[in-house]
């Protein structure tokens, strides 16, 4: 029954998406009032649809929880003996389940938009709901026609095939859902942008409506990318935190577009400028999240994170991509000229700096996009190439470095028009920090150019992030400004972590027998022993490694090499010691013969990575900045509403008083 309820809910939701699309579109009619009347169905359709899509997802979750092996998806992706938590997370650890999660989040955000949003002009709202309905419809069709998650098996399976052990990790429980919320949040931004474009209502009010959605999506994307990076870092056992893997790029590209959109929306809300540019970025951001979905879900890429799927699905998503993006660009081309650009500004102004950074972000996006798609293009001509860090690092740095420089001083500029002379103290300060750090690192040792520049920029940005607070009464600074300070400081922290990791990491690789001692950085490592251990669905060899530095008590690290039996696969479980100034990272390898005394030797690889954790602390600070911004906006909004209500109440009281007074003279 579970599967049938889920499937029925999906079909009903599909029907409601049609209703939402049609009635929203009818509401756009300017002449025929009977047609306009149909628009009242758009909002309830979106809300009920949200319930149904979430219900369908919960049904699948339930089926995974009880391991209903008569459902094909459960049988092929789960196992009766799998730990319960991974049975649950396994729901989205496969193509069908993750697409259902995607659709559920899409419907949920569409429902929330329909339920909550009351500020937009009614026609714009109808257009928005029609667009949102059409996006939902496309993905329901994709799910039901090509990847039904509720398909039954003719004969139930006995145990199930299992889940890729790499995915049996708590990192997987948080990482994909957060990214999906981010991706899908951008769909709402897209719908809102299209709605405003269709009805030519690209106004500061529109920007205030779209801003929380962009912020929300952006916070989740940031957090998802941060969590994903940390997951890959400790789970894959290679010690790297970013690989320029196509699937990583698939999440980075919408993030870059969303970051640009977020800043351009701020300009539109505060200054009524950059109208068409903002709409363009809204289209671009969602295009990138669709492209990401296509790359990951189509099977054109193979990657650790991508699930092998058939080309038919790829074609389906590609058609959806073409329809939505093509449609959006067509409307854009038809309408863009009728939207005036809004207020003017000079190059040396807050707007000017934001435009510059917007363009730099777009350029980095272009670099990443071309690098990601290039191997696919050449393959069409039967040439296999791979594009890696030697391309991505320098090519993106060309645009990232000027962007960071402008990011340091941009928030200090005034809106509309400013003179660089006014902030010459700050400019000098930033420049001298840059030069001082570059000189310092150059004296200390011979390092590659990018890490040195990274360290210098990080130091300058860290100081510059707080400069907007200079000379202000801290208790009076708006929460949203604190959000900006926090996020910009987070960028500095993350940049520092990245540069420090690539400049100062120390590594020791050795074959050691129990009792042997090695040195990594200022850490002393001793292998105490290697034992077999067993988990619920794996066996492993586990090394006990004592690590200490200075006079500290040794800490025991237990890296494992695990063998799973369903499916049969091996993984490497790294062991980590986290200190404020870095992380010690240990991995155990194969047996490596015997030493002179006849003891078995084991391969042991240990890294000391100074300040590597700052990469993810930075990511968290950036997300936190976004959260603060949302809180700030909501508080301002609530205050305004409260004030309006108070005003209304006072007026009502006054009116009542006037009424009671009136009879008196008579």
């Amino acid at each position: 029954m579970i599967a049938e309820i889920g499937l029925a809910a999906l079909w009903l939701a599909t029907a409601l998406a049609v209703l939402q699309m049609v009635s929203g579109a009818m509401g756009l009619s300017t002449k025929d009032e009977r047609l306009q009347a149909f628009a009242i169905y758009a909002r309830p359709a979106a809300v009920v649809q949200a319930f149904l899509a979430v219900l369908a997802f919960l049904m699948l979750l339930w089926a995974f929880a009880i391991t209903d092996l008569s459902i094909k998806l459960v049988a092929t992706n789960s196992h009766s003996m799998k730990p319960f938590i991974y049975k649950l997370t396994g729901t989205w650890g496969n193509h069908e389940g993750s697409m259902l999660l995607w659709v559920a989040v899409l419907a949920l955000s569409g429902g929330l938009l329909a339920y909550m949003e009351r500020r937009l002009p009614e026609r714009t709202m109808n257009a928005t709901l029609a667009v949102q309905g059409s996006i939902a419809l496309g993905f329901y069709a994709f799910l039901l026609l090509s990847s039904n998650p509720f398909e039954r098996l003719p004969i139930p399976a006995a145990e199930g095939v299992g889940l890729n052990p790499l995915l049996q990790d708590i990192g997987l429980a948080v990482h994909p859902p957060t990214l999906y919320v981010g991706y899908v949040g951008l769909s709402v931004a897209f719908s809102l942008a299209m709605g405003a474009l269709i009805t030519r209502q690209v106004t500061p009010d529109f920007a205030k409506v779209i801003r929380p959605w962009v912020l929300f999506a952006w916070v989740f994307l940031t957090f998802g990318i941060t969590a994903g990076s940390y997951w890959a870092y400790y789970e894959l056992g290679w010690g790297g935190w970013w690989f320029w893997d196509p699937v990583e790029n698939a999440s980075l590209m919408p993030w870059l577009a969303a970051t640009a959109l977020l800043h351009s929306v701020s300009v539109l809300a505060a200054r009524d400028a950059l109208r068409t540019w903002t709409i363009m970025l809204g289209v671009l951001a969602f295009s990138m999240s669709m492209l990401g979905t296509f790359l990951v879900r189509s099977g054109v890429l193979t990657s650790v994170h991508a699930f092998a799927v058939d080309p038919e699905r790829g074609t389906f998503i590609l058609i959806l991509l073409g329809l939505y993006i093509g449609g959006a660009l067509t409307i854009f081309a038809l309408r863009a000229s009728s939207i005036s650009e809004g207020k003017r500004f000079t190059v040396t102004s807050r707007e000017g700096a934001l435009v510059f950074n917007n363009v730099m972000l777009s350029a980095i996006l272009a670099i990443v996009l071309l690098g990601t798609l290039y191997p696919l293009l050449t393959e069409a001509f039967d040439v296999r190439v791979s594009v890696g860090p030697p391309y991505f690092n320098p090519a993106s740095a060309i645009f990232a470095i000027p962007m960071f420089l402008v990011m340091a001083v941009g928030p200090l500029l005034r809106w509309k028009n400013d003179k660089p002379k006014r902030i010459q103290f700050e400019l000098l300060l930033v420049a001298s920090i840059l030069i001082a750090v570059i000189a310092l690192v150059a004296i200390l040792g011979d390092h590659a150019i990018l890490p040195v520049l990274g360290l210098a920029l990080a130091a300058a940005l860290a100081v510059a992030a707080f400069l907007p607070l200079k000379g202000r009464k801290l208790s009076r600074v708006p929460t949203a400004t604190w959000g900006m300070v926090c996020a910009h400081f987070g960028v500095a922290v993350a940049l520092f972590g990245m540069a420090s990791e690539s400049a100062f990491t120390q590594e020791r690789l050795a074959a050691v027998a129990p009792g042997d001692t090695e040195q990594v950085g200022d850490w002393t490592i001793t292998l105490e022993g290697v034992d077999p251990v067993a988990g619920p669905n794996w066996t492993a060899i586990e090394a006990r490694v004592a690590a200490s530095r200075g006079n500290e008590e040794p800490i025991i690290l237990t890296p494992q090499a695990r063998s799973f039996w369903a499916p049969s696969q091996a993984t490497s479980e790294s062991a980590l010691i986290t200190r404020w100034d870095g992380q010690l990272y240990a991995v155990i390898g194969d047996q490596a013969g015997v030493d002179e005394a006849g003891n078995t030797r084991w391969q042991l690889r240990v890294w000391w990575k100074p300040f590597v954790t700052f990469i993810w602390y930075g990511g968290l600070l950036i997300s936190l900045g976004g959260v603060l911004s949302i809180i700030g906006r909501v508080r301002v909004d609530l205050k305004r509403r409260h004030a309006v209500r108070k005003g209304e109440a006072r007026r009502a009281d006054q009116a009542a008083l006037d009424q009671t007074k009136q009879p008196e003279p008579a």
């Binding site: 350029a363 071309l370 690098g371 791979s386 890696g388 320098p394 390898g589 391969q603 690889r605």
Partner: protein, 153 residues
């Protein structure tokens, strides 16, 4: 400056930056064509000593040898044709690194003609094969390895 002019300036600046990004990407990607080598390509046109590249091919059966230090492994990577590149790698071998299977080695060619690998990418599981090696898997692998080992000893 009129509003229209400002808009035009913005568009020109944005276009300029995006085109610049495209050109830089195109230029860098053309160099990247030299980033991935099959053994026969590396034999015909070796990359500069020390240049960071990837080498992809099959691990020749019987060629894996662990050095006395226990962590340095040397093996031979073969391709479709009768060419083979000796590789040296210091590190923990990927879980599915086996003879006759596909591998992508990241590293650079040493002055002695031995490829110094800093990182090995092998299959992660049955479903994941390094992109560059698709079509070089399964029964074909054995054929290639057989073909390519003729006359190498």
């Amino acid at each position: 400056m009129k509003a229209k002019h400002q808009r035009l300036t913005l568009v020109v600046f944005a276009l300029f930056a995006i085109v610049a990004a495209g050109l830089i990407a195109a230029w860098a990607l053309r160099n990247q064509a030299n980033y991935f080598y099959l053994p026969e390509q590396m034999a015909a046109e070796p990359p500069a000593v020390g240049q960071a590249v990837r080498l992809g091919g099959m691990v020749q059966p019987g060629s894996i040898e662990t050095q006395a230090d226990g962590v340095t492994v040397s093996f031979v990577v073969t391709g479709k044709e009768a060419s083979a590149v000796p590789v040296r790698y210091s590190g923990i071998l990927p879980d599915l690194f086996v003879e006759g299977s596909g591998v992508v080695a990241e590293g650079s060619l040493g002055a002695d003609g031995v490829f110094q690998a800093t990182n090995l990418l092998a299959k992660h599981d049955e479903n994941y094969v390094p992109r560059e090696l698709e079509g070089l898997e399964g029964h074909q692998a054995a054929d290639y390895a057989e073909d390519s080992t003729v006359g190498l000893d």
